[in-house]
């Protein structure tokens, strides 16, 4: 008997007990569904992160008081909060010391602000960036028209601003050139000296809905206290990137007088380190999904074993007939095992279809690219086979070892 024949027979006997088969399948479907759903979302996000790169420009890293992604438990936030703020003076010292870097910029961010021009105003969702001139280089903000914020603007804390593409488009109709006009940013009148090229979205969020102003002007508007500056550094190329990071770390420790035995009181992160942290998080979620999935599969497996035992008892006579007309133990064993595996595979296929479908739907809400975790699909099906074989083994063994005489006599 070939495998096709075996499975054709298995499926036809499942069809005979549709409701029972469906209920049994449900357990497996839920287990596999939970695994594939999570894995699909993670795969979708990861492929978006990796292809969409990136929060930072090429060869750029950032020095911050707080880590980019906080993975610690409760209380860890306090540890970071108690660090001294990174001040503009820290930045200036670093700018002097770190001569190997191509650009060193400082930036601070205020979120949820509003920009007005005469009667028009944007939604109160505009980010205001207080920057030094080189922050435009490290961020790859390229001026489309007008001029960027320059050293002079920063030194004198000039009341000027450069608009992000979204702010310009939202506030001004296409035929009006905003350069030279005065807008109110968070109520303060600033002269528009230029606007940046469009950068596009990341994770469904626009990266163009901001206004850049000189950092001194920013401090006048939003204050200096309890604010920490983010320092962005760009190396000349790939080769010296790690070296520049090491040097920056050393200089920062000196500047902030960190004792040699203490750990850094600042965070340095790069695209790589953010990816790593992201992977750490997704790795945790993956393990969680696997645990949930395996528990569900365990429960489902017990259900399958139960239903197969019932099935063996119900079909005792059939087994007797099959044995009488020449079925060997092996034939009966294969028959019941393949029924258990067929149940599991059917459940698995449903779980995978739903998981990938819903996972991609969820991913699309996060603007992630559609993805299918092929490894997990194949893995999931293999797990189904394993569950079927494992939990189907005992009932199948029981069936195979029935005495044909007893089985034929069974009422």
């Amino acid at each position: 008997m070939d495998i096709g024949e075996t499975f054709r027979m298995a499926f036809s006997s499942l069809r005979a007990n549709k409701l029972r088969a469906i209920l049994t399948i449900l357990g497996v479907a839920v287990g596999i569904f939970s695994i594939t759903l999570i894995m699909t979302i993670i795969t979708a996000l990861q492929s978006s992160i990796e292809s969409g790169v990136s929060a930072l420009s090429k060869n750029t890293f950032q020095i911050q008081k707080y880590p980019a992604i906080n993975m610690g438990g409760p209380g860890s936030r306090a540890k970071y909060r108690n660090r001294p703020d990174i001040t503009l003076e820290d930045y200036e010292r670093l700018d002097e010391l770190l001569t190997s870097a191509k650009y060193i910029g400082a930036e601070e961010w205020q979120f949820g602000e509003q920009v007005q021009y005469e009667g028009d105003e944007t939604n109160p969702d505009v980010s205001v960036a207080g920057i030094t001139a080189e922050a435009q280089n490290t961020n790859d903000w390229i001026v489309e028209e007008g001029r960027p914020i320059n050293e002079g603007d920063v030194d004198r804390a000039n009341p000027v601003c450069v608009l992000g593409a979204d702010v310009k488009d939202n506030l001004f109709p296409p035929h009006i050139n905003p350069i030279g006009l005065t807008v109110k940013v968070s109520g303060r009148p600033l002269q528009v000296i230029g606007y940046y090229e469009k950068q596009g979205d990341m994770f469904g969020q626009s990266r163009d809905n901001f206004v850049a102003i000189p950092i001194g002007q920013y401090h006048r508007m939003f204050g200096v206290h309890r604010r920490s500056v983010n320092i962005t550094v760009q190396s000349f190329g790939d080769e010296d990137y790690d070296e520049v990071i090491d040097e920056a770390r050393g200089h920062m420790r000196t500047i902030r007088k960190v004792e040699p035995w203490d750990e850094d009181d600042f965070e340095i992160f790069s695209n790589e380190s953010m990816l790593e942290e992201m992977n750490e998080i997704t790795g945790g979620v993956e393990i969680g999904a696997m645990v949930v999935g395996f528990i569900a599969l365990l429960a489902a497996g017990v259900g399958i074993m139960n239903i197969m035992l019932v099935s063996v008892t119900e079909r005792t006579r059939e087994i007797g007939v099959r044995k009488a007309i020449g079925a060997k133990k092996r034939n009966i064993l294969t028959q019941f095992l393949s029924e258990a595996v067929a149940l599991c595979l059917l459940g698995g296929a449903i779980g995978i279809a739903l998981g990938v479908g819903l996972g991609n739907f969820a991913g699309s809400l996060l603007n992630a690219q559609a993805a299918a975790p092929f490894g997990w699909i194949v893995g999931g099906l293999l797990i189904c086979v394993a569950v079927g074989v494992f939990f189907g083994a005992y009932p199948a063994y029981k069936a195979a070892n029935l005495d044909p005489i007893e089985a034929l006599r069974y009422e």
Binding site: A16, E318, A324, I325, G326
Partner: protein, 236 residues
């Protein structure tokens, strides 16, 4: 040559401390193309003997040579194989697979024999035609009458061209008219050169055979030719 050659067979069941001699020193030979009825009241060892003849069981002691092979030394797999190849079973309750159509039921022994799908479909169809069911090939058992079901069972028994046909109360679940039809079919099968063994407790059924073996308390009491044989009219 004897197809069945049983010598001094014992079958002893132990129920608690009591030993029950279901078969007590039984010897029996059956030749090719014989038509034998095995009779006896319940508890006579009739079923035990049938199980042994059908290679569903092995004797406690004694020798059972079936077509020259010693069944007593066979393991479960060998027994399954010999049942598949050499024995066609017909049961009182038909024992068809309820969810499969007639064709698949008849195919079943050929599946276990490893016959290819196309060949076994052809052979199964031919066997169904031979028992007069050419227009019932795709009917399921619950769409067939009792007589038709037993014909499917007969086709299933014949499809492997076995050495013996072993029927256990083949008319027990049929009305007398249908029963006569089935016995006519048996007569026909026997006429084609098959060896037929019918286990029954009905005299009228036994009288269709050419030889009757009567069991009592695990021993063969009488083994004699049937003198007043009923030869049924062939069914059109």
């Amino acid at each position: 040559m004897n197809i069945i050659d049983i010598r001094n067979i014992f079958k002893i069941y132990e129920i608690g401390d009591v030993k029950v001699h279901a078969l007590n020193d039984v010897s029996l030979r059956i030749d090719k193309n014989e038509y034998v009825a095995i009779m006896g009241p319940s508890g006579s060892g009739k079923s035990t003997l049938m199980n042994l003849l059908g290679c569903l069981d092995t004797p406690t002691s004694g020798v059972y040579n079936f077509t020259g092979e010693n069944v007593g030394e066979m393991d479960d797999n060998d027994l399954a194989e010999i049942r598949n190849r050499e024995i066609g079973f017909i049961f009182q309750t038909f024992n068809l697979l309820a969810r499969s159509d007639a064709l698949h039921n008849v195919e079943l022994p050929l599946i276990y024999a490893g016959v290819s799908a196309s060949e076994r479909k052809e052979r199964a169809r031919k066997a169904l035609i031979d028992v007069g069911l050419e227009d019932r090939v795709y009917h399921k058992p619950n769409e067939l009458s009792g007589g038709q079901r037993q014909r499917v069972a007969v086709a299933r028994a014949l499809v492997t061209r076995p050495s013996i046909i072993l029927a256990d109360e083949p008319t027990g679940n049929l009305d007398s008219k249908t029963g006569r039809e089935i016995m006519a079919l048996f007569n026909e099968i026997h006429g084609q050169g098959n060896t037929v063994i019918v286990v029954t407790h009905e005299e009228d059924i036994a009288r269709h055979a050419m030889r009757v073996v009567r069991l009592l308390d695990g021993k063969i009491e009488i083994d004699e030719p049937v003198t007043n044989r009923i030869v049924p009219e062939p069914v059109a």
